[in-house]
Symmetry: C2
Subunit: 199 residues, 2 copies
Amino acid sequence: MSPRNEEQNAIIKDERREQILSAALKVFATRGFAATKISDIVAKGGMSHGLVYHYFKSKEEIFFELVSRALSTSGESLLMVEAMPLSPLQKVRETAKHILGGIDEWEDTSYYFLIVIHASMMEMTAEDKEKVFGNSQVPVESMMRIIKQGQDIGEIRQADPLEMAIMFFAALQGIAFYKLSMPNFQLPDPELLVYMVKK
Amino acid sequence: MSPRNEEQNAIIKDERREQILSAALKVFATRGFAATKISDIVAKGGMSHGLVYHYFKSKEEIFFELVSRALSTSGESLLMVEAMPLSPLQKVRETAKHILGGIDEWEDTSYYFLIVIHASMMEMTAEDKEKVFGNSQVPVESMMRIIKQGQDIGEIRQADPLEMAIMFFAALQGIAFYKLSMPNFQLPDPELLVYMVKK
DNA sequence: GTCTATATCCAGATAGAC
DNA sequence: GTCTATCTGGATATAGAC
C-alpha cells in the first residue's frame, strides 16, 4: 500500500469509530448499559453489526470509552470556568448556566451527563471503578476551590465546601433526569442553584 | 380444604410474595431493571427460580409493583409532613431531614428511592408511563403548595414554585446517587437544601 | 473496510414432579 | 406451595465472504 492510502484509511477508520461512538452515546444515554443492544447502536448509526466489532472489542469497551470522554470533558470544562476572570460566585453562576444550557439544548453534552449517571449506577469491581472514575473528582474539587475562595471573600455562605459542591452537582444530575423523563419540562432558572451557596 | 388451611395458605402466600419483593427491591435498586437477572433475585431471597414465576407473571410485574409502592409511599409521606403543625419552611426542613435520614440509614426507603430513579430512566410507552408515574406528581405538588404558603408569609424566596420544588427533589435524587456510588460519603447537612428556598 | 451468516451462550419463562 | 429440569428466544461475539 502507498502512504497515501494508509493515510486515507486512517481517516476512514477514525470516522467510523466516531460514527459508532456517536450513535452509541445517544443510545447508552437514554437506555443505560445493560438495556442497550448492539442492534440498537447499529440501527441508530446505520452501520452493520459486524462493523462495530471490527472497531471495538466489546460493548463494554464502547461504553467505557464514552464514560472516559464524558469525565475528561466535564473536568476540563470546570477547570476552564475556574480560570476565568470572574468572582467565585460568578464562576458558580457560569457553571450552572453552562450545564443547564447544555441539558436544555439536548446536545452531546447532556448525553454525556447521562452516560456518567448510568455508569455511576453500574456495579463494577473496585479496580474498574478506580480506573473509570479516577478523574471524576476533578469537577467536584474544582468547585470546592471556588467555594472556598467565595467564602474567604464573604460571597458564599459558611458551610462545608465538599458538601456544597456535591449538592450542587447532585442537583444538576437530578435536573438532567427530570429533563430526560419529561422532555418538555421547563428547566429551572440557573439562579436557583446559585442560591444554594450564595451568602 | 378446611377454612383454617385456606387462611394459613393465604398468609404463606403473602409472606412469600413479600419475601420475593424484598429481595427484588435490593437487587433492582442497585442494578436497575435490565441488568437484574431473576437468578439474582432468587439468590438474594433464597428461593427457587420457579417460585418467582408462581407469584409473578414476569420480571416486569415485580419491578412495577415496587415502583408503585415507592411512589405511593413517598406521596403519603409528603402529605403527612404537609399536614403537620409547622411553618412552611419547617416543613421543607422536615422533608429534607426525613429523606436524607432514610438515605443515610440505608433502609428500604432509600432503595425505593433508587427504584424510582431507575424507573424514570427506563424507556416505556406513553401509556405505561402514565400508568406508572400517574401519581408521581403528588410529592412535587405537595411541595409546591408548601412553597407557595412560605412565599405568602415571606419565609421563602420569590421564584417559580414548580421549579423550586423540582430542584429540591432533584437534589435529593442526586444525593441518593452519590451515596450509592460512594457508600461512605458523608451526607450533606439538610440545611443546605433549606437554603435553596429560604428567603 | 464492510457486510452477512452463524456459533454460542445465557436469561426469561414454562412444565410437571413432589 | 415449592422445586428441578427444560424450552425458547434473543443477544453478544466470531468467521469468513466480498
